[in-house]
């Protein structure tokens, strides 16, 4: 008995080591470009264009960032991006979980049609609705306003689909029990269901924030003056010319754009860990 246990333990340890090695190699392959991006943003333009490229900067310089910040009204664009992304994310979290809950757990006429419409919308290639969407928003008088930047993205089919699929896997008993206790539907949603959704909400939050933060074409077209530009739009101004790309500005700009998202991700990723254990059901 004891010998068997020991053998098992050794096998476990070997398996663990193999797993670590594989994961570490994977990490190297996957995070490599990101690391290169960060390191290269501290190289002069000539070194970035050098063939073969260098990993560690031969000449370390912060000129790219200095130039970026001197040419860019960074606080303004950062504020615009943050405002838009935050409100869009908040809207998606609230509205998509509401309707996702209804679609997964409530029975009411029309929900199948609604779900099919959501699925259908998810499958429409984005390019095709762009011009009609813009004409609509401009007819509503919303060009060059924050509302015009935010409103069309306040809900999205992706979020609904995600929340519905996630909520399907939450046991009905819990909701049933709360109903028996006499709780109203909204109270059940808010107090019982939403806390259980934390991993899904964290996922949706990150993805929505990322999508909104990186959105380029819509803010570019809707914002007709520079004071409503978002960060990616403003950055694109300086890095890509008609015949020439300034890689130094491009990469330092990419770092500047990625950092906030990374921070949001680092903050939220803890929530993936908190699954069932902290939420009351065992």
């Amino acid at each position: 008995m004891v010998a068997k246990d020991a053998a098992l333990r050794t096998r476990d340890r070997v398996a663990k080591t193999v797993l670590y090695v594989v994961l570490a190699l994977g990490l190297l392959a996957v995070a490599g470009p990101f690391v290169w991006m960060a390191l290269s943003s501290a190289k002069p333009e000539r070194e970035i264009r050098q063939v073969p490229p260098t990993w560690w900067p031969e000449t370390f310089t912060l000129d790219n960032f200095r130039e970026l910040f001197s040419r860019l009204d960074f606080p303004l664009y950062f504020f615009n991006s943050a405002l838009v992304a935050t409100l869009v994310t908040a809207g998606n979290l609230l509205f998509c979980s509401l309707v996702g809950y209804a679609l997964a757990k409530l029975r009411y006429p029309g929900r199948r049609v609604l779900f099919l419409a959501v699925l259908g919308m998810l499958m429409v290639p984005g390019m095709v609705t762009f011009v009609p969407q813009f004409v609509l928003v401009s007819n509503m008088g919303l060009t060059n306003t924050y509302t015009g930047l935010i409103l069309p993205f306040l809900v999205g089919p992706f979020g609904v689909f995600l929340m519905r699929q996630f909520l399907l896997s939450i046991p009905d008993d819990l909701i049933e029990a709360a109903r028996v206790d006499g709780a109203g539907e909204f109270r059940i949603f808010w107090r019982v269901v939403l806390p259980l959704c934390r991993p899904a909400l964290a996922t949706l939050g990150i993805l929505t924030f990322l999508g909104s933060w990186n959105n380029f074409l819509w803010p570019l077209v809707v914002a007709t003056t520079e004071d409503k530009y978002t960060l990616p739009v403003a950055l694109a101004l300086y890095s890509v010319g008609q015949n020439r790309i300034n890689y130094g500005l491009l990469l330092s700009g990419a770092v500047v754009v990625v950092l906030p998202v990374l921070i949001v991700f680092l903050l939220l990723q803890r929530h993936f860990l908190r699954g069932i254990a902290t939420t009351g059901i065992k």
Binding site: R49, N139, T143, L220, A236, V240, G241
Partner: protein, 422 residues
């Protein structure tokens, strides 16, 4: 309030979709008459869109205009090149255009055909001031819809030391020279590639067409496309021969042209004025003396491609007169020279080239010389689509050794199917 607006907008889109079923296109209007603008100083707000460096620097630059025209205020919005076409197209669709916008020369046909651009008033802008090739890019259906702002053209960049070893210390003058120089650079000067030419892919027509034009091929007039000519075929065969003889690479990774040129692996290439800055930057101190630029080699003529950007005023402009006056100001020779000093854009106005700022630089004067005869494709709405088909056939020509005559025929066939859009 908002909900009523919402409902109204929804109604508009729906009504539009329904109404669409019943409507048809009214076939072609006639030639448009340009309205005059009148004299006097500009006034009011003038909104301007500009891309890239131009967008970044124009606001500061325009302050002088406001000094000369105290009642006018120029507001510049910088637009990234990446999606400028989409932004302008969307603005036209929603009738939310600025007063003035910078416009890529190859977009001119498309935007003019929407009816969104205002014909150029001849009382303000004089055609003869500009390089003829540049002025032609503004012409759609015999009417000018804009003004060339700055120009560029393509020349042969070559390494002086290697050209000397190859037996062409003064650079190539003719088609035979260019071929012999490329060969010599490879065999005598240690270059891996004698001449880099674009083997297809977006924009390769800008490298091929100079050879076709220099051979007397006139591929497109406003209403007729003729790619399938002996002159075109000969130019294609010449272009292809560089690949057949192993003088040009078919698979040069992005970004390795300039380092290759600096290291002497690539002896020569074709490009526009922006490459002066890039290679001097890459080559470091002293590289400026190691290379030179030559005119397009002559066959029947030496004719290169002219590019750049135009300025156009929109019909939906709130300040049409102000917009045109600003455009006129930017076209003054002395302003064009100052603009060159500010952002290195080559002047589209011929007399600006007499300024010592430009005449002092031998590389620059080579560009100025070539610009006098450089050509552009006609401003037809479908040019970008035809060019894409052209690029794909050129790729087959360079990489798959397609027959030049068959290539010319294939281009013609696709171009006829696409049409000129008029």
């Amino acid at each position: 309030m908002r909900s009523r607006r919402l409902a109204a907008a929804a109604g508009i889109v729906l009504a539009a979709s329904v109404a669409l079923a019943g409507c048809g296109r009214d076939s072609g209007g006639g030639q448009e008459e340009a309205k005059s603008v009148g004299a006097g100083k500009a006034s009011g707000d003038i909104t301007v869109w500009a891309m890239g460096t131009e967008g970044e620097k124009l606001a500061e630059f325009a302050k002088e205009f406001s000094t000369e025209n105290p009642d006018a205020k120029v507001s510049v919005t910088a637009v990234p090149w990446d999606a400028a076409h989409q932004k302008i197209a969307s603005a036209i669709a929603a009738k939310q255009t600025p007063d003035v916008s910078m416009i890529g020369t190859t977009w001119q046909g498309e935007f003019a055909k929407t009816g969104a651009l205002d014909p150029t008033p001849s009382d303000l802008i004089k055609k003869d001031d500009f390089f003829p090739g540049a002025w032609d890019t503004t012409i759609v259906d015999s009417t000018s819809y804009g003004v060339p702002w700055y120009v560029e053209t393509r020349l042969i960049y070559y390494r002086k030391d290697m050209a000397a070893k190859a037996g062409f210390p003064g650079g190539p003058k003719t088609w035979d020279d260019l071929k012999a120089m490329a060969k010599g650079m490879k065999e005598k000067a240690g270059a891996k590639w004698g001449l880099n030419l674009q083997p297809g892919k977006t924009g390769s027509w800008q490298s091929v067409m100079p050879f076709a034009w220099s051979n007397g091929a006139d591929v497109a007039s406003a209403d007729k496309l003729s790619f399938d000519t002996p002159e075109m075929t000969e130019a294609l065969a010449y272009y292809q021969s560089f690949y057949k003889e192993g003088l040009s690479p078919t698979a040069l990774p992005d970004g390795s042209l300039e380092p290759g040129f600096v290291k002497g692996e690539i002896g020569a290439f074709i490009s526009g004025p922006w490459h002066m800055g890039i290679v001097e930057d890459q080559g470091g101190a002293g590289f400026k003396d190691k290379y030179a630029v030559a005119q397009m080699p002559t066959k029947k003529s030496s004719t290169s491609f002219i590019g750049g950007s135009n300025l156009a005023v929109f019909k939906d402009a709130k300040n049409r007169a102000g917009g045109w006056k600003f455009v006129q100001w930017l076209s003054k020779p002395e302003v064009q020279v100052k603009w060159y000093q500010a952002v290195k854009d080559l002047p589209s106005v011929q007399s600006a080239w007499n300024d010592p700022t430009l005449t002092g630089d031998t590389l620059l004067t080579a560009f100025g010389q070539q610009l006098k005869s450089a050509k552009a494709p006609p401003a037809i709405t479908t040019w970008e689509q035809i060019a894409a088909a052209f690029d794909l056939e050129v790729e087959k020509l360079c990489k798959q050794n397609a027959d030049p005559a068959a290539t010319a025929k294939a281009i013609q066939q696709q171009a006829s199917a696409i049409g000129t859009g008029s």
